[in-house]
Symmetry: none
Amino acid sequence: MREGLESVRVVLVGTTHPGNIGSAARAMKTMGLRRLVLVDPQRFPSAEATALAAGADDLLTRAQIFSSLEEAIADCVWVVGTSARSRGQSVPLLPPQPAANALLGHVAGGPVALVFGRESSGLSNDELDRCNAFVQIPTDPDFRSLNLAAAVQVMAYACRMAALDEGEEQPIEEGYDPPATQEEMEALFEHYLRVLIQIEFVDAERPRHIMRRLRHLYQRKGMTASEVRILRGILTHTERGGGRRSARP
Amino acid sequence: MREGLESVRVVLVGTTHPGNIGSAARAMKTMGLRRLVLVDPQRFPSAEATALAAGADDLLTRAQIFSSLEEAIADCVWVVGTSARSRGQSVPLLPPQPAANALLGHVAGGPVALVFGRESSGLSNDELDRCNAFVQIPTDPDFRSLNLAAAVQVMAYACRMAALDEGEEQPIEEGYDPPATQEEMEALFEHYLRVLIQIEFVDAERPRHIMRRLRHLYQRKGMTASEVRILRGILTHTERGGGRRSARP
């Protein structure tokens, strides 16, 4: 999985506030993205960027700097630009996850880039024209004020999810509690029925409604074998009326 | 769609830095979440929070403050906690999108909550035990330093995507069985504890392990109010030792 994410270049174009560069680096690194590229940053390097990177300052040290987007993405096989507005029908404007899936889908061919524009004015038309696709993060129409680092965080997360979907199955953890078998579930319901009749919660002639409700409740949850054992332990104690009771003369 | 998102409460527990509260409010508002709840914040209100909210300060003004998580979620029908670690197999640890889908899937029944822990230490075991499910944002194993506001941003985004997917509200069916509230669930667990001590299934001094297993089991898929009534009816009959027993001379 790592290989896929390491082919993703995050390109910040014309960033005004160095703090945003630092926060963006931190956002990238939490999701396994490592390649930061800056196009014409207003102030960089900067102590503020380093402070906000909070442990992701290695990304700042290794950041490449270019004077134009054209140079920054010259070797890329797929470029996704962030855009707050539609570019017409000719270039797809995708939600984050499909955009990230498409990006990761192209890494086998070479480097890919995710491009973020200026805080105030986004990407220029010329810059937008260099993108293969656009992503629009679906903000609330009444409050579109998504911070640059927050946008990077959302897209870096989407890239990581795209990479995880492709990667290996998760191994089963130690201490894994296997699911109950149908047989164990049936034995649980029989035990319940016996006890509910004994404590006169259900009528032996008409236990149907309550037993169905219990089945729905427990089957919906998908129980583990050890959970079934706990419930059966409780039922056994209930049958005996508790240790104290049975100890009475 | 708005209605669904407006039922989602974001609960920040024990936040240390007021700036994080402000940034979290901004992250929420960009995605259409409006209900911020603070549990025992270290400093609030605060000029720093207001500054970082950047136009989302109305969420800070309307934020509710409680001294415990228990009170903050008392009327909630579904609670998702953020957790960096696995809680064992009995409660699902979901990726962000499935967790958000489940959260939005419960809004028809009442308020739902997304709970974020302290910056340094997360949520306590007691707080984690009150959650129906857990979400784990899949950070890079080598750099898990996800800022609180960044975590809120990712989850708020996932909630918005879930709400967009659902589109129109589902009408509530006739014969609809409303979900149990947290208060009803707590009453159920208290009742269980009393009975399990009485029947000597648990030691009054050390009921913890079994009670946690039962919490996980019953909170996992959510329960309806009528299911809680059935279990409490069974517990009441168990306490009395059943009709037959009590009819004995």
